[in-house]
């Protein structure tokens, strides 16, 4: 844990930095491939809609009073799912009153329906007269879906307006939306490829992702805004400030993802591996994929995209130029001062023979600084500061400052 904490600190003060923003084409390409695979899966396999969307057939078996129990229902569910008929792979079986059991499946051909009827009769031992079959309408009709879509559209518009108003930056709205679309596409794609059935539970899962993805993006963007607000004082370019923000929230993102994904993962494992099928699995899969994608996209897609879009702005370009100029100036400051190395004579010691200064070039023992690249041409190379120098919240400027008083004004 110590190492992870140390990493947290290093990420915070920028000593260690993962270049999320700079390598954006890598992330774009990676996500692009995944999204294309997802869309291809969607195009080739399509989605397997459940009874709630397609309607289907309903069988009603009358059984003896004592037999209409949950156990019998469970048994029938197994039996019907075991027929291997695609449309009946995930039947809804309920007891009805105390003397009947209802079995609902997706639309069946007449052959399949005969097969299911036979299974039902065999399993319950009921006579053929005790079985009736009716046609079942979709409980999630077109109009309900339509209303849900209208709601979705309204929600997206409101979110765009909200992010715009909160961050004062419409590009953040766009980036958040792109990340959202990315997450939803991946989730739906994985769903289609895995062949799970789309039920209202799935819809619920996808809607949760909608919320989670935007939530996560807003948290990261909040830090980005905070860092970029002080670009001028911290002498950073927009890209650097945004990248630092992502690095600073990285620990939080990792922790949140772990905390959010553990319970969902547990449910997914239990429902998919141990139970085999059912609503739980549909929901858990949608959530697991979506939340993982959501955490990924706010770091790897939303922020780089934001920086990408902002890179054309004058203010951002000016900041970038400032940052570059400053880097150059900073790197050059002590370029000609020989840095200390082992075995170098220490002049302060009165006993020792004073080593002649500035003869180092001729006399080999003084090694040129190796770790640092002397920057182009002028001045001296600065030793790395021993302590982190970074903006402090309490003073509103960089602290601690270790340079001498006479140097302070030149920053």
């Amino acid at each position: 844990m110590g190492r992870f904490s140390r990493l947290g600190n290093d990420l915070y003060n920028g000593r260690k930095s993962i270049d999320f923003v700079g390598r954006r084409w890598l992330w774009y390409a990676l996500s692009g491939v995944i999204v294309v695979v997802a869309i291809a899966g969607l195009g080739v396999r399509g989605l397997d809609y459940g009874i709630e969307f397609t309607g289907g057939a309903e069988f009603r078996v009358s059984v003896a009073a004592s037999e209409a129990t949950q156990d019998t229902a469970d048994e029938l569910r197994q039996a019907v799912a075991g027929t291997g008929i695609d449309a009946a792979s995930n039947p809804v079986v309920t007891t009805s009153g105390s003397e009947a059991i209802l079995v609902q499946t997706e639309p069946l051909t007449s052959d399949e329906s005969d097969q299911v009827s036979q299974i039902l009769l065999d399993t319950t031992g009921a006579a053929a007269g005790d079985l009736s079959q009716t046609e079942l309408g979709a409980s999630w009709g077109e109009r309900i879906a339509q209303r849900a879509l209208i709601g979705l559209a309204v929600f997206l518009v409101l979110v765009v307006l909200f992010i715009w108003a909160y961050f004062r930056e419409w590009k953040m709205s766009v980036a958040a939306l792109v990340a959202l679309a990315h997450d939803v596409l991946i989730t739906v794609g994985v769903y289609s490829i895995s062949g799970f059935e789309v039920t209202p539970a799935t819809v619920t899962g996808v809607l949760t992702i909608l919320g989670f993805s935007l939530y996560d993006t807003v948290v990261v963007f909040d830090k980005v805004r905070e860092n970029t607000k002080h670009m001028r004082e911290t002498h950073m370019s927009y890209a650097q400030a945004a990248n630092l923000a992502v690095n600073q929230t990285l620990v939080r993102s990792i922790n949140t993802s772990i905390v959010a994904l553990i319970p969902v993962g547990a449910i997914l494992y239990v429902s998919a591996v141990q139970l085999g099928s059912g609503n739980l699995q549909d929901l858990a899969l949608a959530l697991f994929v979506g939340m993982a994608a959501g955490a990924y996209s706010s770091i790897f897609i939303a922020t780089p995209l934001l920086v990408h879009m902002k890179s054309g702005e004058t203010e951002v370009q000016l900041a970038e130029r400032r940052a570059r100029a400053r880097e150059k100036a900073k790197a050059d400051r002590y370029a000609a001062v020989p840095s200390f190395s082992e075995g170098m004579a220490v002049t302060d010691d009165p006993e020792a023979t004073p080593a002649p200064r500035a003869t180092s070039d001729a006399e080999a023992p003084v090694a040129a600084p190796t770790a640092r690249q002397p920057a182009a041409g002028k001045g001296r190379t600065a030793p790395a500061s021993q302590r982190p120098v970074s903006r402090s919240g309490s003073s509103g400027r960089n602290q601690p400052s270790r340079s001498t008083k006479s140097k302070r004004g030149r920053r």
């Binding site: 046609e135 709601g151 929600f155 547990a266």
Partner: protein, 574 residues
């Protein structure tokens, strides 16, 4: 710290609030939440459409019914069409009283003006009612036939409804014994009217002119129909065809017969309907809100009727609900239906009216049966086990990573869970909220989002300490920043919940509700529990001194040393 904070007081307030919530729960007396249709089964009502409805009408009816059952709360009831004349409604748990009525009521609401009633006898022949011919009705005491003494009174009767309801008032001319099934509105004829002041004749289009003048002088055919009509036994619904363009002869549930003008205002001109008890009254009423065209028509009616003894009638599905007089000129488009409502029947009627009329009528007395849960029993227990194990892992991780602060996370999650449970209990009582499997999973998922607030906060706090602030200072500085982040992020969640709740139906509505609930609780716990708790803990040496296990030591922060709370070290080493 600029402001002196009193974390102890806030914490106390929070716990008092929580205790109050549980006190309310104790009052309702239910300690387990209502489970959804998929987990515990429920009631299944199979509505059978009358006649041969088109598929569109059936689907439209099922959607309106869906809104009715899910509109008053978030019970996640399911409505499906079956075959071409069934609508199946499944409601979790024991179905509440009056639910069947709410569901199957066609809810055609119309406002008409009253030409005459069997009680006022203005239509000539309708004098004191004779003894009923219906054997069932004749067993009732004959005294009640006088019906309301003041016809103008708001439809309320001195008698309570129910068994001691007065028997039906039959018209004198009850030659056709099956009056109840007769077509009540005879076609307009050209017969001359009797001595009424200004006989209104049906005009060329078969209309009846202005209903407000028509009511003073109804045409002969209508009077004839009125006299031919016979009310069904009290309490039964009058089966009449309610054509808005024609006069109507029908009865109210007291058995008083009315001759009514063509409809003046239709149910589609309502903007809303609500049940409640008005101030300084004791009876439940259903208050109506008209939209703009309804308001102007209602104003016109009330101008015409104000100061007279003339009545207007509120007709629901062909039955007169009440027939009040105008006590004042009402111009604000608000009206009330009163008359023997209980809380349940008033709420049921308001719900039916709010979501519009059904395009088709259903057979009375639909079969009602109990259905079992649709999920295998092992799914719920498996889900709960998995969720529990997942939560345990989350706690272990928090303790491992945040050490002492991890305890705060766990306590916050525990408190959030307690608050959520209380709210779920209260809402299942007041808003029919039921926990379905998606709901439970949603709540488990909400753990992640809730914990994120704390993680954001703690990371901010640790960042502040890395900048060289002492812990008590970092607690407040980190709070100021984390608060804004969380408010912004949670606003997005709340927006999602709100919009989906307004637009969606069924399961999604329940989900939106759960999402909004858990987000709000997240905010409440974050503001009034987690932050004061951390502020309070910051007073202890264990935390502000950077103990190894506090989660805030120099080692866990990854810095060389931390600033302690001693004021002498202000601006101390990073």
């Amino acid at each position: 710290m600029a402001r002196r904070r009193r974390p102890g007081r806030t914490l106390l307030g929070f716990f008092v609030g929580l205790a109050l919530a549980y006190g309310l729960v104790a009052l309702t007396g239910t300690w387990t939440p209502t489970l959804g249709l998929d987990l515990q089964g429920g009631t299944r009502i199979t509505l059978i459409a009358q006649g041969n409805p088109s598929e569109d009408n059936l689907v439209e009816a099922s959607e309106i019914i869906d809104q009715r059952v899910n509109g008053s709360g978030v019970s996640e009831a399911e409505v499906t069409t079956q075959g071409n004349q069934f609508v199946v409604v499944e409601i979790p748990g024991e179905s509440p009283d009056n639910l069947r009525e709410t569901v199957e009521r066609q809810a055609q609401l119309r406002f008409r003006v009253v030409a005459c009633t069997s009680a006022d006898g203005r239509c000539g022949a309708a004098t004191a009612p004779t003894a009923p011919t219906d054997p069932e009705a004749s067993t009732s005491p004959g005294a009640g036939v006088t019906a309301p003494s003041k016809p103008g009174k708001t439809g309320k009767n001195d008698q309570q409804n129910g068994s001691n309801r007065p028997p039906v008032a039959f018209a004198e001319k009850d030659k056709n014994g099956q009056g109840a099934t007769d077509e009540p509105t005879a076609d307009p004829t050209d017969e001359p009217t009797d001595g009424a002041s200004e006989p209104a004749q049906p005009d060329a289009e078969g209309g009846y002119g202005d209903p407000l003048t028509w009511m003073d002088a109804p045409d002969e055919a209508s009077i004839q129909a009125f006299q031919d009509y016979q009310c069904p036994p009290a309490g039964d619904t009058a089966l009449v065809e309610d054509d808005p363009d024609k006069p109507l002869v029908t009865c109210d549930d007291q058995g008083i017969k009315y001759l009514l003008s063509p409809a003046l205002i239709e149910g589609t001109e309502l903007a809303g309907a609500d049940a409640g008890i008005p101030q300084s009254q004791f009876d439940w009423v259903v208050s109506l809100d008209f939209d703009s065209s309804g308001t102007s028509k209602f104003t016109e009616i009330s101008r015409a009727l104000y100061g007279t003894e003339k009545q207007f009638a509120i007709v629901l599905d062909g039955q007169v609900l009440s027939a009040p007089t105008m006590d004042a000129v009402i111009t604000n488009g608000r009206a009330e239906i009163s008359g023997n409502f209980t809380e349940q029947s008033a709420t049921s009627l308001a719900t039916s009216l709010k979501f519009g009329a059904l395009p088709i009528a259903f057979e009375p007395d639909p079969p009602v049966e109990t259905v079992g849960p649709s999920l295998a029993g092992n799914q719920l227990s498996a889900g709960l086990w998995a969720g529990g194990i997942g939560l345990l892992l989350v706690m272990v991780y928090c303790l491992f990573y945040y050490r002492g602060l991890g305890l705060v996370v766990i306590a916050s999650l525990g408190v959030a869970a307690a608050a959520t449970y209380a709210m779920v209990l209260l809402l299942s009582e007041s808003a029919n909220f039921t926990l379905s499997l998606p709901g439970i999973a949603g709540l488990i998922v909400a753990v992640g989002i809730t914990a994120d607030s704390f993680i954001v906060y703690f990371e901010r706090m640790r960042d502040e300490m890395r900048d060289g602030k002492s812990m008590p200072v970092a607690v407040e500085a980190g709070w100021a920043r984390a608060r804004n982040t969380c408010l912004a992020a949670d606003t997005v969640s709340l927006l999602a919940a709100l919009v989906l709740y307004i637009f969606a139906a069924g399961v999604v509505k329940g989900f939106a509700f759960a999402l909004g609930l858990s987000t709000l609780i997240d905010l409440v716990v974050f503001f009034w529990f987690t932050h004061p708790m951390v502020s309070w803990l910051a007073r202890y040496k264990f935390f502000n001194g950077g103990h190894r296990l506090s989660g805030l030591s120099a080692e866990t922060l990854g810095v060389d040393s931390i600033a302690t709370a001693r004021p002498a070290r202000v601006g101390g080493r990073a």
